[in-house]
């Protein structure tokens, strides 16, 4: 699977409160959440992004609250994936569970500039910056998580465990 789109670049410690503020957490409706995605860090976010675009950020992306509404909001906004130098632990797991692809690469996140055109091969984890013609390799997804993908995510894995 390949993702292609523009990069929108943010700094370190983008927390889940700015990804989706708690004032909108009285619902789990994804379209509603998407409307307010990244609102407190970039009020034009929803207006400027196009389906397939990517968020690129620094260290500790998704820090703070355990709200799954954060990856849900990002995914529902049309963002195809997130590239960051590192991810906060709970966000990493949540993204995976919500089917939001995320890629860890210090070099890519360091180099990519706002509005650069990016292409990512999800299977190989290769990130290509089409604007600068540079290529990066992201940290591979841990083996156990790949197995979870193969069992159709956490839901499929739960079914398998319960059927035993």
């Amino acid at each position: 699977m390949k993702f292609k789109g523009k990069a929108w670049v943010y700094g370190d410690n983008v927390d889940t409160d700015v990804i989706i503020p708690a004032r909108y957490l009285n619902t789990s409706d994804e379209a509603e959440l998407a409307k307010h995605c990244m609102e407190d860090i970039d009020e034009n976010f929803i207006k400027k992004i196009k389906p397939g675009d990517m968020i690129v950020a620094g260290y500790n992306f998704g820090s703070g609250s355990s709200r799954e509404h954060a990856p849900i909001a990002i995914k529902a906004s049309g963002i195809s994936c997130v590239i960051a130098k590192s991810f906060a632990r709970i966000f990493y797991r949540n993204s995976f569970n919500m089917g939001l692809p995320i890629f860890e690469s210090v070099e890519a996140a360091e180099d990519i500039k706002d509005t650069d055109e990016i292409e990512i091969d999800a299977d190989s984890g290769i990130i290509k910056n089409l604007t600068t013609n540079k290529e990066y390799k992201s940290t591979p997804i841990p083996e156990f998580m790949q197995e979870l993908i193969a069992s159709n995510g956490l839901f499929g894995y739960a079914k398998k465990l319960l059927d035993k």
């Binding site: 409160d17 009285n26 407190d40 355990s66 906060a88 632990r89 797991r93 156990f144």
Partner: protein, 423 residues
């Protein structure tokens, strides 16, 4: 090589002789819980699987964030929880009037025991490590998985040991120790790691302060915070009718592996204030040279809404008045804390000072309700996060402190030492 307390719990719960950092284990959980924001998604997961929860006694549902229901949407979320509890006849549920903030309520009511493996759909689940349990926050889907299967998968974390020595200075409590620590290592300083708090200072630290410290492990990126159970732990449990036969008290081996050992001389630590917009921006009071005027002070939350916190606040507020145009909001974390504070006459002191007292809720901590900051306003809070917009408007600014400093600042109308206002 020996194992840390975190490794020991994960190895026991995954029925292995030993586990090493980096291992992935599927382990049995002793308690899984969620709140009114996170539970609806967990419940949906269980319903889609078409199963009952794995063990009614090991699941808890706690409507604490937006209750009493703040609006129609929150009321509907609470209704999803209540219907699920009623249909499944689940015992561990608290209605408004009984409910408290999950991370204050569960230890207080004797649900948390040493050696337990706990997952909660709330990032501050790490609080419960104060009792020598392995407790970590997860998303709703992971907790839904635990509700259904009784299991969760874990990557065994490396541990960092924080060794605190020396006597605490006046007004310095668990909050100051943890803010200082996060200031030292940064908000990603313990990313994916276990934070083990140890040393002579911790051995003498009251349980409530230990809960405050473990509560904020997540603010350094930590997977869990944990303290070896000792006499203070056993005494706390005994007061709650939990006997020594009811749990396993694990201790780290002397030759356990730590990725880092950080030694902290507590005598160097003065009351701390974390500046906007990250908990790592901690400064000692004497380092603050400028006047920081405030519009609101909030004393409460899963970090600092316990009885000891309210007693300290009352000791500062006694015979004092909240400054003009400043709001002081005090929220006891649980019904028991509320009753105790009322009984001890703390409410009289708070009301004389001009504070407003709310029923237990997370409320303003996450910018929910019960004290939201307007554009450009400045708040000081005893909660755990001061991210952009955390307590309201994205142009507001939030400082974090102990209850003593927050109470003193409400009186002075600016951030100040409790010594300046105590009468």
């Amino acid at each position: 090589m020996g194992m840390s307390i975190s490794q020991k719990i994960l190895s026991a719960k995954s029925r292995q002789d030993s586990v090493s950092p980096g291992d992935i284990v599927l382990a049995d959980v002793d308690l899984a819980f969620a709140n009114d924001i996170t539970a609806p998604i967990s419940i949906d997961f269980v319903k889609k699987l078409g199963v009952d929860v794995f063990d009614k006694g090991k699941v808890a549902l706690i409507p604490d964030h937006f209750t009493p229901n703040k609006d129609i949407s929150s009321a509907n979320q609470c209704k999803i929880m209540r219907d699920f509890v009623r249909d499944g006849d689940l015992p561990n549920y608290w209605e408004s009037g009984e409910v408290g903030i999950e991370h204050a309520l569960l230890p207080e009511q004797g649900y948390i025991k040493p050696g337990m493996l706990i997952v909660g759909a709330d990032s501050h689940t790490c609080t419960h490590g104060a009792l020598g349990a392995f407790a970590t926050g997860m998303g709703s889907t992971d907790v839904g998985f635990a509700f259904a299967t009784g299991k969760s998968w874990f990557k065994v974390p490396e541990s960092i040991k924080f060794v605190y020595t020396g006597r605490r200075n006046k007004w310095v409590g668990g909050k100051d120790l943890i803010l200082y620590t996060i200031g030292k290592i940064g908000v990603a300083g313990a990313l994916y790691k276990s934070m083990e708090f140890a040393g002579d200072t911790i051995k003498e630290l009251p349980m409530e302060d230990r809960l405050t410290m473990c509560n904020m492990a997540i603010e350094a990126g930590g997977k869990n915070g944990i303290i070896e159970p000792d006499e203070i732990t056993f005494e706390y449990l005994k007061e709650r009718g939990v006997g020594e036969g009811d749990y396993t008290a694990y201790k780290s081996d002397p030759d356990a592996y730590y990725s880092k050992i950080i030694e902290i001389d507590v005598e160097d630590i003065e009351p701390q204030v974390a500046f906007p917009h990250l908990p790592e921006n901690a400064k000692g009071l004497s380092e603050i040279k400028e006047d920081i005027k405030i519009d609101q002070a909030f004393i409460g939350s899963c970090t600092n809404g316990r009885i000891g916190d309210l007693r300290i606040a009352a000791s500062v507020l006694k015979n004092n008045k909240v400054a003009k145009y400043v709001r002081l909001i005090i929220i006891p974390a649980t019904v028991d804390v509320y009753k105790q504070a009322l009984k001890e006459g703390l409410f009289d002191i708070f009301m004389e000072a001009g504070a407003v007292i709310s029923t237990p809720t997370c409320g303003p901590c996450l910018g929910g309700y019960m004290g939201i900051l307007a554009d450009g306003e400045v708040g000081i809070s005893t909660s755990n996060r001061n991210f952009v917009g955390r307590m309201g408007s994205k142009s507001s600014a939030l400082y974090l402190s102990s209850p003593a400093v927050a109470a003193a600042s409400a009186v002075a109308g600016k951030i100040i030492s409790p010594d300046e206002v105590v009468k």
